[in-house]
């Protein structure tokens, strides 16, 4: 057995069944070994897509995603995928080939310092120098990627190490004295948290991506206390968006109710989130009256931006049940009366007297599926509309690039999700700009006949950039026009062998969406929508949560919140 075969065997022993990748010179021994391996390899058409697919595979299943790439350009193409996974705490293992050991450092053909390049965007990385180290490196990589705060790990293997005869053992034990995540919360801190929560008059819970692995604990906490629940972009699905206690998404494009609740609350239970700037806005105006209880497995996230009054380091699966045990129903009638008034006053609203708009397309998708599907998104206006109008109801079914905001993520993510959750319908909500950043993956989708409905809300614009230029750059629309040179997306889909439809009106949209969802095969729907639609509410970058622009809502808004008309 050579190193390449040992690698595949080690992956197999960690339960890997599916790998996303693209071959090349420096990783050919691994691809040769794949020929005899039970591991299924999904050939993507660009390494970036392989990384995104593996990332989404983890997000959709909780099982570590794996991707392969060759040295140099293959590995550098992974960079965006690794950075995306790193920001969103996704467990991903990337294996790259490298030039033979003797050539490393000589600027050899297709050589790049991959461990150097990926150092700040991986949780850890390895350059394997001895073939017999492979099982230990793979075991450590799985341990590091999937425990504590999950993250991507890269394993770089020179070609001669892949080819060398393996004489080691697979029975290895991890010994990492520098890596011992704190999973069990400190009892005294949990008690302090319980006391603070019991004393609160106007508490809210904010759930982030950490909630995806502990939905039952989140649900139980919410049920027992009756506390209102805000889910961040990464937390969608960790608590059902349709539940009575759900206030929706906070932050820059959050709901009026969630943002007002943050401003007026006297306590936040932050669970599995990192208080990203898109959530907090200007820090000095974030939750000015609130005691912050921050529960997270990553100590470095606690008091990094928002000072935690009661920090609890630990896994939500441990901390939340122990916290819930010490609590009973809270007396929140006045607080709920206020929240319900805001909820009733600010429902999701958009105008349908004009041409088709993105929001109604996305709402039709939500109604046709009941939110019972996997949603992946690209990045931009459609992403924010989807977060608000098409949030899924189950954990690990909402897959979107939050931290890095990676255009080009959604389509390959749909591939990863489709392999992770076979038999389930996957809807990829996209814009006409971002879909073109990994459009080549239509080939992968065609080949495997994945049940993915690709819904492009096509306004012929880079819509989010256009919105900022309209609002903050004196309507100087610089380099945002796509319409004059967009492809005919239906024909493009057909060129790849995928059913495609261009849709111009709401009647056709209403008919074709259920048909596409029922088809259980790839379908691309290109909805041509109103070009100047904006996402509201909006907190301008750097402004406070209380300075939210409510937009199309009724123009009698109080306290610093401004109303604008479009």
């Amino acid at each position: 057995m050579n190193g390449a075969a040992a690698l595949l065997k080690a992956l197999e022993r960690h339960g890997v069944t599916t790998v996303f990748g693209h071959p090349g010179g420096a990783i050919m021994p691994v691809y040769d070994a794949l020929y005899d391996s039970p591991i299924r390899h999904v050939l993507v058409r660009h390494e970036q897509a392989g990384a995104h697919a593996a990332d989404a595979y983890y997000r959709a299943s909780g099982r570590v995603g794996v991707c392969f790439a060759t040295s140099g350009p293959g590995a550098t193409n992974l960079v965006t995928g690794l950075a995306t996974a790193h920001m969103d705490s996704s467990a991903l293992i990337a294996v790259t080939g490298n030039v033979p050991s003797a050539l490393i450092g000589t600027d050899a053909f297709q050589e790049a310092d991959v461990t150097g390049i990926t150092l700040p965007i991986t949780k850890h990385n390895y350059l394997v120098q001895h073939v017999d180290d492979i099982p230990m490196v793979v075991t450590e990589a799985f341990h590091i990627a999937s425990t504590g705060r999950p993250g991507p790990v890269l394993i770089d293997i020179p070609k001669d190490v892949q080819q060398a005869e393996f004489t080691g053992t697979f029975d290895v034990e991890v010994d990492l004295p520098g890596y011992r995540p704190t999973l069990i919360g400190n009892a005294r801190q949990i008690k302090r948290a319980a006391n603070a929560i019991r004393d609160a008059q106007r508490p809210v819970m904010m759930v982030g991506g950490g909630g995806q692995s502990s939905p039952e604990a989140v649900m139980r906490f919410a049920e027992v206390t009756g506390i209102p629940v805000i889910t961040t972009l990464m937390g969608i699905g960790a608590y059902p968006a349709g539940a009575d206690q759900a206030l929706g998404m906070p932050g820059m494009h959050g709901t009026v109710t969630a943002n007002r609740a943050i401003t007026h609350c006297d306590l936040i239970v932050g669970a599995g989130l990192r208080f990203d700037d898109r959530v907090t806005g200007k820090l000095s105006r974030f939750a000015p009256n609130a005691t912050i209880v921050h529960i997270d497995v990553a100590p470095a996230e606690i008091s990094k931006l928002v000072k935690a009054h009661v920090p609890v380091v630990g896994d939500l699966r441990d901390v939340l049940p122990r916290l819930t045990e010490q609590l009973g129903p809270l007396a929140l009638d006045d607080w709920w009366a206020q929240l319900k008034e805001w909820k009733a006053r600010y429902p999701e609203r958009f105008k349908t007297d004009k041409p088709l708009v993105s929001q109604e397309v996305i709402q039709m998708l939500e109604r046709a599926t009941g939110g019972d599907c996997v949603v992946t998104t690209e990045v931009g206006q459609h992403q924010m509309f989807a977060a608000r109008l098409f949030p899924t109801s189950k954990p690990r079914t909402w897959i979107s690039s939050g931290g890095l905001g990676t255009m080009g993520f959604g389509l390959p993510a749909a591939i990863g999700a489709a392999f992770a959750r076979p038999g389930e319908t996957v809807v990829c909500v996209a814009g006409d700009g971002s879909i073109q950043m990994n459009i080549q993956e239509l080939a992968t989708i065609y080949k495997h006949q994945l049940p993915i409905v690709i819904a492009i809300t096509n306004n012929g614009m880079l819509g989010m950039v256009r919105q900022w230029q309209e609002m903050f750059h004196a309507q100087r629309y610089s380099e945002v026009f796509l319409a004059d040179s967009n492809p005919d997306f239906a024909k493009l889909a057909e060129a790849y062998g995928i059913e495609g439809h261009n849709v111009f009106d709401r009647e056709t949209a209403a008919r074709i969406i259920p048909e596409a969802l029922a088809a259980k095969k790839p379908v691309l729907l290109n909805f041509v929508v109103y070009e100047s639609e904006k996402v509201f509410p909006m907190i301008p970058a750097g402004a406070g949560v209380d300075e939210m622009i409510i937009g199309d809502q009724e123009p009698d808004e109080p306290e610093g919140e401004k109303a604008v008309t479009r």
Binding site: T115, G116, L119, P120, K123, H124, L127, Q129, I144, G148, L176, P177, G178, Y179, R180, P181, T182, L283, S284, R285, F286, P288, I292, A298, P299, A300, S303, K304, L305, V306, K307, H309, V313
Partner: protein
């Protein structure tokens, strides 16, 4: 005023001496240096050497910053897989030393006499003697080495090199390589 701002008002920037115990792995210093750079910290001094535990090295960093920023830096350092323990010595009693080699010009016989006298006062050793120069070895805390440099200026400093500070906590109970107390 938010809690964060309030904390910052009370927070004064000062030098912190950090002991970072790391596993001897290829690239471990690069990881630490990259982290300092990425998070916007300047390393005032740095020294690295084997510790008493085989396979572990102890690095000592002197870094300038507010307490809250240094706390965040410590947490970021602890995220590195090869970092076993981080101690901020500024939080408790500790001893520190620095080694300096300094080559000073000798122009006249009187200079030579005076230099020998100063060296005695500082308990510095002369480790090389030349017709036109002396090389001194000075060990001590940063204040002592700084003071010695000041004394030498009028003679003419030809070259100097400093190791950067190394530090250990004073109490027997806290060991810089003790992993049991490490949080996360």
């Amino acid at each position: 005023m938010s809690a964060t701002q309030a904390a910052q008002v009370l927070d004064v920037a000062r030098n912190h001496v950090l002991s970072v115990t790391v596993r001897d792995r290829p690239g471990v210093l690069v990881r630490i240096a990259a982290l300092f750079a990425r998070r916007g910290f300047n390393i005032e001094s740095l020294s690295v050497a084997q510790s008493e535990t085989p396979g572990m090295s102890r690095t000592t960093f002197v870094v300038f910053g507010e307490d809250a920023a240094i706390e965040q830096l410590q947490k970021q350092l602890q995220k590195l897989i090869d970092v076993v323990k981080v101690i901020d010595h500024s939080e408790g009693p500790y001893v520190e030393r620095e080694l300096m080699l300094i080559k000073v010009a000798v122009r006249t016989p009187e200079d030579r006499v005076e230099l020998r006298q100063i060296a005695q006062d500082f308990r510095a050793r002369i480790i090389d003697v030349d017709r036109h120069a002396l090389v001194f070895e000075v060990t001590g805390d940063e204040g002592k080495t700084d003071a010695f440099i000041e004394q030498m200026r009028s003679f003419g400093i030809l070259e100097l090199i400093r190791t950067g500070r190394v530090a250990l906590p004073r109490s027997a109970g806290q060991r810089a390589t003790d992993t049991a107390t490490r949080a996360a």
